[in-house]
């Protein structure tokens, strides 16, 4: 039965009645409907708020954990750097101190030699003979015995002897001085040597001082890490993000290298593995090629760990030195074996490509196919070299990989924190939207039952207006009563 037939033959009236009936029903169930909407909204909003709060809490916890991890990593790194600096300083001191007695002996020898030479220069030659006084006495004779020829001759002889003697003494003196000068000159070399030695010592001390300053800086950094200061955290964050992106770029480049390597050996692997089998839709041969590359990477990783460049596996890192050396040798031998396998596969690939080309040529031209000219061996040599060298190059990916793993933990953590905060904000927004949406729904509901509501409102208004009219009168009565009571009192 349709609504238009409520009152037979009166469709409009039937519709009006139906609408009025509907409005009345909506009006009577209005409080319950509003309550239901409120309850549902409240439930959803509470759930969203709870979720949002839990996300914020998780973000906070994660942030704290991130900070701890970051500082711990920073501490480890600082420890490693400090350790390296101490080792460097130790070796420097050991080297210099080992040489120091020799330098000291050398300096002492030089000093002794110079002292000897100085002593040699301080030796004074014999003074002039004392017969000059005798000459003076004889000279006085000249005054008393004038015109005495004998005296004159004697004096002349003395004079000549004196001159010759003086000349001889002067020559001796000059020779002596010259000798002293040459001794002093020869001591210049010792001075220079001494200066050089002292200069070397000074240089070493300067170097030591620089190392000490570096260590001071490292220690200060380490202290900051231990104290967990904001500065240290900021520095670590910046450093971590940079390291993460650098290592990511290097890993991507290495990925391309691995891809080239894969293509080099995928075809010849079909000669070794059953080409008619598949795993998860991929040929076993191609999977085997990928496995070989992964094995090379793993062995390379172990080798880098064994020689102490990376610290990804504590078991290897804390091995005894002898065992670790043996392990390193084993790894490099395996890696070289795999390199040889790859070179062999690259050789095989070239043969297969040539065979395929010959077959195609035969199928196209039949027996009249031209005999292929002897191909250049350069591509084959190039492929074999690539096959041998690429695994060795890929081995070095262990370094950025370690960096990626260490820094990725923090970068991923930070990303998660941001996502959690964003989600929490979104959930809050949704809860606000739900609240407003419920209010709007209530208003829309009220529009559908506006008639009864309006009537109800009018009815509600009437007693209120009569009450409002009576209110001043009642107040006046009250006021009179109060006045009467006051007067009576």
């Amino acid at each position: 039965m349709s609504i238009a037939n409520f009152i037979p033959g009166q469709p409009i009236l039937s519709w009006i009645l139906a609408i009025i009936g509907g409005m009345l029903i909506l009006y009577f169930i209005r409080p319950s409907a509003h309550q239901l909407l409120d309850n549902l909204t409240s439930l959803l909003v509470q759930m969203l708020k709870l979720l949002s709060r839990s996300l914020v809490l998780s973000a906070k916890n994660m942030s704290v954990r991130n900070k701890e991890v970051l500082l711990e990593q920073g501490k480890q790194q600082a420890e490693r750097e400090l350790e390296r600096q101490f080792i460097r300083l130790g070796s420097l001191v050991e080297k210099d101190l080992a040489r120091y007695p020799m330098v000291q002996r050398n300096i002492e020898q030089n000093i002794v030699t110079m002292e000897d030479k100085l002593r040699q220069t301080s030796e004074v030659s014999a003074p002039l003979p004392e017969w000059t006084e005798a000459v003076e006495s004889i000279a006085k004779l000249k005054d008393t015995t004038k015109n005495d020829a004998v005296v004159g001759k004697l004096l002349q002889a003395i004079y000549e002897a004196f001159h010759s003697q003086q000349k001889e003494v002067t020559n001796t003196y000059k020779k002596d001085i010259s000798q002293r000068h040459s001794i002093l000159k020869s001591s210049m070399g010792h001075w220079r040597h001494l200066l050089e030695k002292v200069g070397t010592v000074e240089k070493h001390w300067k170097h030591l001082n620089e190392q000490a300053k570096k260590i001071d800086l490292q220690v200060e950094r380490f202290e900051n890490m231990v104290q967990g200061t904001d500065k240290a955290q900021r520095l670590l964050k910046a450093s971590n993000s940079t390291q993460f992106f650098i290592s990511l770029v290097v890993i991507i480049i290495a990925g391309f290298g691995a891809f080239v390597n894969y293509n080099l050996i995928a075809l010849p692997m079909s000669e070794l593995m059953p080409a008619t089998s598949q795993v998860a839709g991929y040929d076993v041969a191609t999977i085997a090629a990928a496995v070989i590359i992964m094995l090379e990477l793993t062995v390379g990783l172990f080798f880098m760990e064994a020689i102490g460049i990376t610290r990804l596996f504590p078991v290897i890192h804390f091995m005894e030195d002898t065992k670790r050396t043996i392990f390193g040798w084993v790894c490099i031998l395996f890696l070289l074996a795999l390199c040889c396998v790859e070179a062999g596969l690259a050789y095989m690939r070239e043969g297969m490509v040539a065979d395929k080309a010959m077959l195609t040529s035969f199928l196209v031209a039949g027996d009249a196919a031209p005999i292929a000219a002897e191909a250049s061996s350069i591509p084959m040599i190039g492929q074999m070299t690539l096959g041998f060298v690429l695994p060795l190059i890929l081995m070095f990916v262990a370094i950025p990989f370690e960096s990626f793993i260490h820094t990725g933990r923090h970068v991923l953590g930070s990303l998660m924190v941001n996502i959690f905060v964003l989600l929490s904000t979104l959930l809050r927004s949704v809860s606000l939207f739900l609240k407003q949406f419920t209010n709007s729904l209530k208003n829309v509901y009220d529009i559908f039952c506006f008639g009864p509501l309006w009537v109800g409102h009018l009815i509600e208004q009437r007693p209120q207006s009569s009450k409002a009219k009576n209110e001043p009168f009642e107040k006046e009565l009250e006021h009179d009563a109060v006045l009467t009571i006051t007067k009576e009192s």
């Binding site: 079909s270 080409a275 008619t276 598949q278 795993v279 998860a280 297969m352 395929k356 196209v364 039949g366």
Partner: protein
């Protein structure tokens, strides 16, 4: 305790090996059977068929099966199979097989003699038997013929074929002189074959332009 841990490790390893071996599956292979019409003047077209065979030889890979048979007066006979091969899983060996196959086909085309009749249904039955044996995941029968069946006296070919999951392709279905006079004959002939193949569960296709590589793709 150590024993338990070792046992646990070993069982994990064993499980991994089992899972890996269970995951290994056979690569989908293709089975191709080409029927060559050697009746009447159609033998002149066989050079084209050789090119088609070479094309498929170049494209089929390890694990695929390939056979070429002739359609003559009575084609339901193993003697009519010119060459058949399932390519080895090693590409080098497969290439060698392809060379031998191509040589056999070349020899056949050089020495083929025309037959008086054309037993296409017999050839189709033989093809379906062969391809069922190969267990190829994709089965294709190509009929290099004008599709005009002519049977000798006494030959009955009203059997039902089971060609479910088969692709049947008519290659180079040339028009006969009578088709030129009345093209309806040609269309009726083609419709009849299409109906027969589709009733047998297979799909039907006609390729007349052999230069288009994409239409030849399996």
């Amino acid at each position: 305790m150590t024993y338990l841990i070792n046992s646990f490790k070993f069982s994990i390893l064993a499980m991994l090996i089992l899972i890996t071996s269970a995951c290994t599956e056979q690569k989908p292979s293709t089975g191709l059977y080409i029927l060559l019409d050697t009746s009447g003047t159609y033998t002149a077209e066989l050079k084209k068929a050789q090119q088609i065979i070479h094309y498929y030889l170049a494209n089929l890979g390890p694990g695929d099966s390939f056979a070429v048979a002739r359609i003559d007066s009575g084609s339901f006979s193993e003697k009519d199979i010119v060459a058949k091969v399932t390519f080895d899983h090693r590409p080098s060996r497969a290439n060698e097989q392809k060379r031998q196959f191509a040589t056999t086909i070349s020899e056949f085309i050089r020495t083929v003699k025309s037959s008086a009749y054309t037993d296409i249904n017999g050839g189709l039955l033989l093809a379906s038997e062969y391809l069922n044996e190969t267990q190829a995941s994709k089965k294709v029968v190509m009929i290099f013929s004008d599709m005009q069946e002519e049977l000798p006296k006494g030959f009955v070919r009203d059997f039902s074929l089971n060609l479910a999951n088969y692709q049947v392709v008519a290659l180079n279905a040339t028009k006969l002189r009578s088709d030129n006079l009345d093209p309806k004959k040609y269309m009726a002939r083609m419709d009849k074959w299409q109906q027969r193949i589709e009733e047998s569960g297979g799909t039907w296709r006609v390729i007349n332009d052999l230069e288009r590589e994409d239409s030849l793709a399996l």
